[in-house]
Amino acid sequence: MRTIPAAIAVLMLAVLPIAAPWLQFVLTLAIAKGFAALGVAVLLRAGLISIGHAMFFAASAYGVAFLARAGINDLGLLLILSVLAGALAGAVAGSFLVRYRAIFFAMLNLAVSMVFYALCAKLYGVTGGTDGMPVPVPAVFGIVFAEPVFKSVLFYLSLALMVLVGLAVQRYLNSPLGHALSAVNTNEIRLEYLGIPVWAVLLIAYVISAALAGLGGAIAGFAIGRVVPDFAFWTASGHLVLIAVLGGIGGVPGAFIGALFLELLHSAAVTVTDSWNLIVGMTLIIVIMFMPQGVYGLFARKEASSL
């Protein structure tokens, strides 16, 4: 089983910030993006590419900011509500987007996310325009921590959520509903002939993926302490697609491994160059051309050959 290596990896992640405190923020952000990328990867199973998923990431982070402004100040409640906000946005957008495939699906997601971005940046009175909105430090079960302590709490909570939600998504992907996704990719008409409503399969997947992106967005909002329209910008969506592709569409851990890899690479690259999207674009092309199974796929293949 892969349980032991996975447990060791999570344990290593848990002790890493103790050795190098600056890593804590990077790792929290990586896990947040990992959730969103996992959402993209779920849709990728059905052969659907969403280049607009940063919208749900941002929608939920804005949701947190609005709820905090309205006086709700509990981390657990905020997280749950923001994930619901992401899922709700996903249900609304998904209800018409899942009618489309391939190019149309990708481009319509991009279009919707760009409208969302434009609205966030333009409606100064509501969203604070490009200045964004602050996300205050919430209370954890009624206890208000100092900011550095809260950031540590947030990191370990995200780590725990990563394991729990990861297992749940794994279960979903291994269920008949999850397997139906790859069936949509292979041949959706056969699926219809078997009496399985394709649109329902895809809508459920879309809502789950939006909720995952929402969870990631809420964590990122707490970690950064601010939400800005750039959360929803199309380059952010591009990064999510890259992470999902890097991780390979094979498994749940792939998305998080891809996110960690990319975030660490990012923090290393910013000291050298600011052309980050250039690197992302090149990596995307190289990965697609030369290792279509993704980085995770490399490890998976080795494991398979040793059996």
């Binding site: 990728l44 590419i49 018409f96 409208v115 409606l123 697609v241 052309s275 980050w276 999207n277």
Partner: protein, 299 residues
């Protein structure tokens, strides 16, 4: 009221003409290569940057300002000659016959690269050079002042529609393109050099996009992020018209232009949303666009 509407209409039609250049290139490339080039919008903004650079050079050397018209055209040819063959041979051809997911991801990667390259080369400030627009001056009809440059843009767009139709229906190259579009394998087996057609069609698409960008510099200027906006708008227009339909793209850019007029007139803050609303409205009822044809689904 008419005095308020007509300049607005002309303004929207002029910007619709610019989007039309990008959209018709996109739709042409799609129908021949069967690849949706997500990086198409970047080529539009690259055309704009090159044109702005040349025009600024002409202005700084105090050369004959009418040269800037030649510069607009030249920059489009220049961008097409450099980027067309390079991208088609270097990148896009590897995706022929692959799944659409792969095509989207590869061209999306290219999109990220090109957008960042422009930022590195041309910086983040916006470029603006209105010499060509000032030279043409204005016309006043019934007390309303029109920019002649905007009328030129609309005329150019009409010229492109007619030119492309003539090219496809009445020239040897056009016949070859039609053959490749209709049946790629059959065209290849009767000896048509499909690779050459692909390079030419792709470069023509790049030329049209770059021309749009170059012509946009004097009116709206070029700023970072224009590539992404143009890409999405061009796709919206191409999708409304039906992917692969030249006249469809023309009608669709008219619709998008009119939708913008309506939005500016009724709800100014929703101006940016209008094209997408038009796209969604069309695609909800005709998922294959106004002029597109239904394709059979594979079993």
């Amino acid at each position: 009221m008419l005095n308020a509407i007509i300049p607005l209409l002309l303004d929207s039609l002029a910007s619709a003409a610019l989007i039309f250049f990008a959209a018709v290139g996109l739709t042409l490339v799609f129908s021949v290569l069967r690849v949706l080039n997500v990086a198409h919008g970047s080529l539009y903004s690259i055309g704009g940057y090159v044109a702005a650079s040349i025009c600024l050079f002409i202005a700084s050397r105090q050369l004959n300002p009418y040269l800037s018209f030649a510069a607009l055209l030249f920059s489009a040819v220049f961008v097409a000659a450099i980027f067309g063959p390079l991208i088609e041979r270097g990148l896009v051809r590897w995706t022929y016959g692959k799944s659409e997911a792969v095509q989207i991801l590869i061209t999306f990667g290219l999109f990220l690269i090109l957008e960042d390259l422009q930022r590195v080369i041309f910086g983040v400030q916006s470029f603006y050079e209105d010499a060509p627009m000032r030279l043409l001056g204005t016309t006043s009809i019934g007390g309303v002042v029109y920019l002649n440059y905007q009328i030129l843009l609309i005329g150019m767009a009409l010229l492109v529609v007619i030119g492309l139709r003539l090219l496809i229906n009445h020239t040897r190259l056009g016949r070859l393109i039609t053959a490749v579009v209709t049946d790629r394998e059959m065209a290849q087996s009767i000896g048509i050099d499909t690779n050459r057609i692909f390079i030419l069609a792709f470069s023509l698409g790049v030329f049209l996009a770059a021309l749009g960008g170059a012509l946009a510099t004097p009116t709206s200027g070029i700023a970072p992020g224009l590539g992404a906006d143009t890409m999405v708008l061009a796709f919206a227009v191409a999708a409304i018209g039906g992917l692969g339909q030249i006249e469809g793209a023309a009608v669709a850019s008219l619709i998008v232009g009119l939708a913008r007029v309506l939005a500016i007139y009724l709800a100014p803050s929703l101006d940016a949303v209008a094209p997408y609303a038009a796209m969604l409205a069309v695609l909800l009822f005709r998922p294959y666009g106004l002029f597109g044809s239904v394709t059979a689904r594979r079993i």
